[in-house]
């Protein structure tokens, strides 16, 4: 391992059972340079990457590096109440947060005057959609062959009176706090950190441990999934041939 995770938390059976359910499918969007769909619980997001490619509109071009353009969008049917199509403030904010996190893992200096365009379409949104989107993006970047320092992983933790848990409820109640993180692989570095609700100093420390442990499991699943996908691509001809 490149870096020992600093987490002292051991995932419970229910934490593990929850994360194990995560489904990832690489390459669904054939027109894009890279893509990945991720599903977990009430979350279903598709991320597609184009780039590096020419910047459009041209005036946004940076002669020294690639710009990262991130567009996160919720489909109208992604929530119980239909959402009007088009960007809203929350989507714009999430676009920015994800874009900043992903820029951390890329080598933008290598591709001056280009754009790396990352698109998210959320088919179904629930608690944890942000870190899952980050995971989908890191897989899509790999599929696109864009060099990255590390896979972006993540996890979410819900904290209330009974302690922290990785498996989220379908809706947050007022006494619950949601902590959602994006990590640089299985390291202790966070590239995304969002807290919705109140969190005491003690809780904060423990919650970060839980989040890191969860992220590490997600990271391992991502790696396995990538290897499996590319190995399977080379084998598919075998079945047909025999």
């Amino acid at each position: 391992m490149a870096q020992d995770p600093h987490s002292s938390y051991e995932l419970t059976d229910s934490d593990t059972r929850w994360i194990e359910q995560m489904e990832m499918k690489i390459g669904r969007i054939g027109r894009a340079d890279g893509s990945c769909q991720v599903k977990l619980g009430g979350n279903n997001v598709i991320c597609a990457v184009y780039g590096p490619r020419e910047v459009y509109p041209r005036h946004l071009q940076d002669s020294l590096k690639a710009i990262v353009q991130c567009k996160y969008n919720l489909a109208p049917f992604s929530s119980q109440e239909r959402k009007r199509p088009g960007p809203d403030r929350r989507s714009t904010e999430i676009s920015r947060i994800l874009g900043e996190a992903l820029e951390e893992v890329m080598f933008v200096q290598r591709y001056p005057k280009t754009s790396i365009d990352i698109y998210f379409e959320v088919m179904e949104a629930s608690i944890g959609i942000r870190w899952l989107s980050l995971v989908a993006a890191s897989m899509a970047l790999v599929d696109a062959g864009i060099p990255i320092k590390e896979l972006a992983s993540g996890c979410s933790v819900v904290v209330d009176g009974s302690g922290p848990s990785i498996e989220p409820p379908s809706e947050l109640s007022p006494e619950q706090t949601l902590v959602e993180v994006g990590t640089l692989g299985d390291s202790d570095k966070f590239i995304m950190f969002q807290v919705d609700g109140g969190l005491s100093q003690d809780d904060m420390s423990q919650t970060m441990d839980v989040a890191q442990a969860g992220s590490k499991m997600v990271y391992d699943m991502q790696k396995e999934m990538i290897r499996g996908h590319f190995a399977q691509l080379s084998e598919s001809d075998e079945e047909v041939g025999q």
Binding site: R28, I29, G30, R31, A32, S35, G42, N44, I46, A48, Y50, R53, Y56, K71, N73, A75, P76, F77, S78, S79, Q80, E81, R82, P85, D117, Y119, E121, M123, E124, A125
Partner: protein
């Protein structure tokens, strides 16, 4: 292969193939691409479907809500079909000018559905002038390889057929006749390139061709709607050929869907 800027070499190659009765993906001129659909892909929609027509992929969801009717149609509910051309679906979409016209696509689909009387707008009325049911169908095109027209229409058809059997649940008791798919209308789109008519055009073909024709055929082989788009010209013979080809493909698709 990329759409949009097709090289002149590939354009000539494509035309040469057509003269031999072939297309670059190996199909004949009359053949449609494989169609697959899976439902219930999203739990937050009243009905949802993922549709693949060749490499064109879209996910569509149907949601209903209550709202005010249009002032000039106080006793009618609303069917609102919206096609979203997601920027991820094609390298050409973000650039703008080469994009298909989403509004035209949405309107043509709506018209095709109305002309086949699949939904009784009066049945959607809750309180005249005050409150009606609004049925929203949102079609998210996620991977574009041509013919969103048919992909979108068939997705709508599938969604409506999903709720046809449980209208009570969706619209409240006593609402069993609002949706009526007995006509089994099917949309079929063709493209003209020089003197050839191509069934179910791909993106590369759409970039090369001119006039497009969409025909909706019902289960009695009647033509319900005809829509010509994208400039170019069809003569009388072309129209007859189109309708003939459309009826064959409509039946194939119908057999698959119902």
């Amino acid at each position: 292969m990329n759409g949009g800027e097709i090289s002149s070499l590939n354009r000539s190659f494509l035309l040469g193939l057509l003269d031999d009765g072939r297309r670059s993906d190996g199909r004949t001129l009359e053949e449609s691409r494989p169609l697959t659909m899976s439902t219930n892909v999203v739990s937050t929609a009243e009905a949802s479907v993922e549709i693949n027509l060749g490499n064109t992929l879209a996910i569509a969801g149907l949601k209903v809500s209550k709202g005010a009717p249009y002032p000039d149609r106080p006793s009618e509910g609303v069917l609102n079909v919206n096609i979203e051309l997601c920027p991820m679906a094609s390298p050409d979409f973000e650039l703008g000018p080469l994009k298909p016209d989403a509004i035209e696509l949405s309107r043509t689909i709506e018209r095709g559905l109305h002309d086949a009387n699949v939904i009784d707008l009066n049945g959607l009325c809750i309180e005249e002038g005050e409150m009606v049911w609004v049925v929203y169908i949102d079609i998210y095109a996620l991977n574009f390889d041509g013919n969103l027209q048919d992909a979108g229409f068939l997705a709508c058809l599938k969604l409506l057929s999903e709720i046809e059997g449980r209208q009570d649940e969706v619209f409240g008791e006593g609402s069993s006749n609002i949706i009526d798919l007995s006509a089994r209308p099917i949309s079929v789109t063709m493209l003209k390139i020089d003197e050839h008519i191509l069934m179910d055009p791909s993106d590369e073909e759409e970039s090369t061709g001119s006039a497009r024709m969409t025909v909706t055929v019902d289960s009695e082989d009647n033509v319900r709607t005809v829509h010509k788009s994208k400039g170019g010209q069809f003569d009388g013979d072309d129209v007859i050929r189109c309708v003939r080809m459309a009826k064959v493909v409509a039946q194939q698709r119908r057999d698959q869907m119902f």
